[in-house]
Amino acid sequence: MVVSPLLRLAALAASVFILQTGCKEKSHADSAAGAAGGDAKGSVASDEILFGEVSSLTGQEATFGQSTHNGIMMAVKEINAAGGIDGKKIRVITYDNQGKPTEAASATTRLIVQDKVHLILGEVASARSLAMAPVAQRNKVPMITHASTNPQVTEGKDYVFRTCFIDPFQGRVMAKFARENLKVEKVAVLRDVRNDYSVGLANFFVENFQGAGGTILVDQSYSAGDIDFKAQLTAIRASKPQAIFVPGYYTDVALIARQTRELGLDVPLLGGDGWDSSRLFEIAGEALDGSYFSNHYSLDNPDPKIRKFLADYEASYGRASDAMSALGYDAVQIAAEAVRRAGTTDGPALRDAIAQTKDFVGVTGTITIDEGRNASKPAVVLEIKDGKASYSATIDP
């Protein structure tokens, strides 16, 4: 049989395409079915409130998305069990973005145009929220990101809110902590140049640390997904820093921590909330002992509200909650609270109600939405000891 090479290539491309889309459809169906909780799919009943969630359920930062999803579903279950909002139940439609900004944008379009959701929840990564925000803004559907800390996400978009603090604050917290609590003067920076979040945090850290009289010895960079950081770390080692600021995501940070110790460099690493994942400790082992990172909340906070949340979470999912689930949980509570106050799911009214959120007591602290549509709330700094993060300090806004 003579088959032309072109035909073979086409057949191959087609089969790969089918494989990929097949996989995607599957995860849609899975999460949508799971979210619907047995409700009839596809039809938008007027007696429900539709929230659309876009999360990285798979991909490099899969645990972020999965934790977020758990937190969101837990909040929704609690609200619905308590009778919903004015008798209406909340239904969440979830799409996976595989950790890709382009997927996040198209999932948002699909949620708004096809599923006609009343509110968008997501994303963790600033790069993906930045892709989603313009879509929500254009369609006048309020969007709440629970964990994207890059300032540009909400800038100039009056439908886009966030319920976490922003990079300048997080960079300032770690600069202040390094200078005042750790009393270090000379710090090296290792940033992920392909990541808006990491670059933002590094810039604000450098600015504030130098402002507080500290010196930045070297400013090295890597790209997410690299596996070998020894060259950068060797250059950092030569400058003899007292600490290294590594505002990356957990998978990279874990490898960086290991290689730092392998090179015999024994100084604390400092980072942001991108470190917060149980996988961090699994991969890094003891390499991170004595390091610090800023976060949205602390697991060993004695506040009864937090204790109840943590206990419920562990009972539902069989594992400890991380910051992403707590943030996702709070975002849903704030959204539900706003719907209740607005009395409608109409875009502009809901937007105004979210903007008026004041002194909302959530799991991750007392949240007030400021005029920049960002949450004003305190940050905690956690210290890593024996493969566990424990509370070290609270830094107020």
């Binding site: 090479p5 790969v16 494989l19 996989c23 060259a231 998978t251 490898l255 082992g285």
Partner: protein, 300 residues
């Protein structure tokens, strides 16, 4: 100076891994004039074979356990390499070379895509277990060599010496060289080229599996797409050394590893990949036969 030496040592252990993978590219090219792009996926499967076998193997002394896992992964990948050749390349043996090349790219994409499905390896990164305890081995004047770096380098060198002996001191190796020199004439002399080619794939794939295990131990985060970049770098190494030439692949791998370490150490990390692929272009333009390759005129 200490910094420079440290960069060279870091580059050496990464380069040894590139060299192991590059050998697979070069051997297949030698006998088939085919660039086997699926080779980088065989490397990835090697890492995962190690990951899964260490999960269900009971714990005992770590050195023999490491060797056992290494052998399991090498055997598994040898089988995978054999199957890829049997199923995808052999039926195209007397078709134009381009067909096999496109098929190679297809197989590579197929393994990546299938590997990312949740019921195979899944798309999220996995943590490669610690098979051998790591730690500083020697530290002289601020230059440190870790145990894993040393093991990686030694393992790679041992495997390369074994390969060299096999190819230059056994009948099978002689047959491989004969097929590589001229397949048709070798067949006339009573050598079965199909068997030799299958064996070449088995050998190259086993080396890729060893590289997968070494990378998994040194950089314990593995995922189905991990082969893509490392495989391409190894391919650049093979071209740099002169594709089809064994010594060239080894030297090219180590050279690329060191160049990368120096580029990142003294320049910017963003240029790491750009420099590696820049080298590829330069070699192809200035000296297509590579550092060790000989110029062969195509007979018409």
């Amino acid at each position: 100076m200490t910094e420079f030496v440290q960069h060279l040592i870091n580059g050496l252990s990464l380069g040894a891994v590139y060299a192991l993978i590059a050998l697979g590219y070069t051997m297949v090219y030698g006998v088939l004039q085919l660039i086997n792009f699926a080779h980088s996926e065989v490397f990835m499967l090697g890492a995962f074979a190690g990951f899964y076998s260490s999960r269900w193997l009971p714990k005992f002394r770590e050195e023999p356990r490491f060797l056992l896992i290494l052998l399991i992964a090498m055997a598994f990948c040898a089988l995978v390499g054999f199957l890829i050749e049997r199923v995808a390349y052999r039926p195209l043996r007397d078709k134009p070379r381009l067909n096999a090349l496109i098929t190679a790219i297809g197989i590579s994409m197929l393994i990546q895509a299938v590997g990312q499905l949740p019921w195979f390896m899944g798309p999220s990164p996995q943590f490669f277990p610690t098979l051998l305890a790591n730690g500083p081995l020697v530290e002289v004047g601020g230059v440190s060599v870790t145990r894993l770096q040393a093991i990686t380098f030694v393992a790679a060198v041992v495997l390369m010496i074994a390969l060299h002996r096999l190819i230059f001191h056994t009948r099978l190796g002689t047959a491989m060289r004969a097929v590589s020199f001229d397949g048709k004439v070798a067949a006339l002399m009573g050598i079965n080229p199909d068997r030799v080619i299958a064996f070449t794939f088995i050998l190259g794939s086993a080396l890729a599996a060893a590289a997968g295990i070494l990378v998994g131990m040194g950089y314990p985060r593995i995922e189905p797409m991990m082969g893509l970049m490392l495989g391409l770098k190894a391919f650049v190494a093979a071209v740099l050394g002169g594709i089809g030439n064994l010594k060239g692949a080894m030297a090219g791998g180590i050279l690329i590893g060191m160049i990368e370490a120096l580029v990142v150490g003294y320049g910017t990390s963003s240029y790491r990949d750009a420099v590696a692929f820049g080298i590829l272009i330069l070699v192809l333009v200035l000296k297509p036969s590579g550092l060790f390759g000989r110029v062969v005129t195509e007979k018409v």
